[in-house]
Symmetry: C2
Subunit: 382 residues, 2 copies
């Protein structure tokens, strides 16, 4: 049979300035591209396996996991296929179908999917709504109290540390304490924080943390991180009755191939970049302040920014789109002309973006590109 | 913090002749190494996602899945993280905790793990035992009848198409028919067949097939294939109630990164190699016949070989190990001197190996290397 042409190139997205927040934290440093080359083939990391992926010493997955556990301050750590698979594993190990779980109103859709796959009931802690969409610990407390008064048991409390819609950093430590005071285990979704910013799971009172290698740890997807506190290890990392070495929720082994090699190679680089988080925040705040100088561009979410993911409301671009011959595509096309990508085609009313990892000059260039586009088309706006 | 040295190189295993059956089917062709380069970064295949990984058109994951579905002759196909994750997804969607599943006595440990993770009861169809270890359809029939007589319901019948211990190819078509006649869905684990040998899921009466990209489809791990017959698609590929596009058992999306790019790039190559399966079988049979000329080397499993995975019983090497100063390590070390790797260090009583994908001259070289080692040390054997 003859295969179709799958167009397996990505030079546009690699060679241009990509503003997509989903892509900014997953760019590989050169040492990880080298690791990818070494471990390209199939089950490449499994040559010297004696039964457990996390105990392989050549390459030293074992040593890497020790370092990773120190880095995020957890007792036990495993690689999983992504944050979502980590959340599912925790819920599947800890909760029973029909149990109730409390989650923030800004939770990622994969949190909902993991809950649905486990057959759990979900109660939401709403955000403050427009324009900040913030998640307040006091509302966790209130809902836990209310549920308790109604005689409803909670099996788990989940929080999205930094959400993917507004890039709001939430007070995990306070919410973790509220969960613990109520005797409920606390799962923290760090897909947008682990690997971008300093993270101390113990300090944040997290019983479980999940992170995303491809989203925020400079690794090839799919790979994630699952951190577990000692008291829950027996449940989450329970061993098989039949195959005594193998962990049931991991289905034996998880990252059996190239992505774990890139996550390993990237760890020193990730540790270094996390230490420069304050510089990233400065750059983001500068970017926001310059973008907001455009009349008709406004940052949504908490202010000032504490994370690189920024959501802008952009009625000015939407007005231009109304009259532009290319309609909603004009913004994407004008940016692309200027070697800037990552904002969805057709989107003008609002967009999410990030300048994470860009140099100051690149950020200047991006800001001046937006200003140039506005200058060119402002008269089309109402 | 300072990271340990993870020794991220694999030149020994890449540059030498690697006999490990786990590694032979996962070697990437050059076009897939190129795809890996293009799609190295994080969520690389997700630039143009409109909500569903399997519907992405740039790169054309959608077109690829159409081709893949034709290639293995299934109605629906998805990529998963590996065969084990595919088995778990099917069992989780179809069975309820406490249900009973019937599996072959040669099943991979990950089948057991998936069963345990789903909370199912397992009944085994034993193999014929030493020396052939074959799985006979008549025994499936007998056990299904017995269970039926005892009023025990079966939720699923599972078969390992080619097992990883003996490389026995089993009569899936007959066992699939037996399952269907009893009204039970049939899951076929093709981790060692899909991508190595011709496979027609419909012809084999499979309701579900799983394959392994890293084991047998020339892809970077972790990636697998899940094929589903139309009548089960509503259950296995059930959509979320809350996120209408997203499939619950897939947790939304699965292979969000580099491995799927390699699987796509490899498909034309895999299609071509599958068509030369008869040549591989000839090479394997020749290899076995030559190896068995060594007194004290005997192939286990069904004869003649119908798959490249070969298990040898090798009492001769075990006897030598008894007297050799390097004990059990001698075989590994003698082979490595000759640029042959992939047989576990210390193993001499028996070993598994494969010459899949090697040229005839390389097979000659491997055979003569074993003969040379025997000639050198035979006097140490009893």
């Amino acid at each position: 049979m003859e295969c179709q042409d799958y167009a397996l190139s990505r030079h546009v997205e690699r060679d241009n300035l990509n503003l997509n927040p989903l892509q900014r934290g997953g760019v590989l440093p050169p040492e990880s591209r080298k690791a990818l080359y070494e471990f390209s083939d199939g089950y490449s990391v499994c040559d010297y396996c004696a039964g457990r992926l996390d105990q392989i010493t050549k390459p030293s997955i074992q040593g890497f996991l020790e370092d990773l556990a120190s880095f995020i301050n957890v007792d036990h750590v495993r690689t999983v296929h992504g944050a979502r698979e980590g959340k599912f594993a925790v819920m599947h190990a800890i909760c029973r179908p029909g149990d109730t779980i409390l989650v923030d109103g800004n939770a990622h859709y994969t949190t909902h999917l993991a809950i649905e796959r486990c057959g759990l009931n979900m109660v939401e802690v709403p955000s403050s709504g427009d324009p900040e969409y913030s998640i307040e610990p006091v509302n966790y407390l209130k809902i836990i109290d209310d549920l308790c008064d109604q005689g409803e048991d909670l099996s788990m409390v989940l929080l999205t540390h930094v959400d993917g819609d507004y890039g709001n950093l939430t007070d995990a430590r306070a919410i973790g304490k509220i969960a613990h005071d109520a005797g409920i285990p606390f799962l923290l979704n760090c897909a947008y924080s682990m690997g971008r910013m300093p993270l101390d799971a113990r300090k944040l009172n997290a019983d479980f943390v999940v992170g995303s290698g491809h989203k925020s740890m400079a690794a090839s997807g799919p790979i994630g991180v699952l951190g577990v506190k000692e008291e829950w290890a027996d449940l989450v990392l329970k061993k098989s009755n039949q195959h005594l070495l193998k962990e049931v929720e991991m289905l034996g082994c998880t990252s059996r191939g190239a992505p774990v090699a890139t996550l390993m190679a990237s760890l020193p680089y990730v540790i270094e970049r996390v230490n420069k988080w304050d510089v990233e925040i400065e750059k983001t705040r500068y970017f926001v302040s310059e973008m907001e100088k455009i009349n008709g561009v406004k940052q949504l979410g908490k202010r000032p920014k504490e994370h690189d993911l920024v959501r802008f409301e952009t009625p000015i671009f939407h007005s231009i789109a109304d009259k532009h011959s290319r309609r909603g595509f004009f913004l994407y096309e004008e940016l692309k002309k200027r070697n800037i990508v990552g904002i969805k085609r057709g989107q003008t009313q609002w967009f999410k973006c990030s300048t994470y990892g860009f140099k100051q000059e690149q950020i200047h260039y991006i800001i001046s590109s937006f200003a140039e586009i506005i200058a060119e088309f402002r008269e089309m706006a109402d």
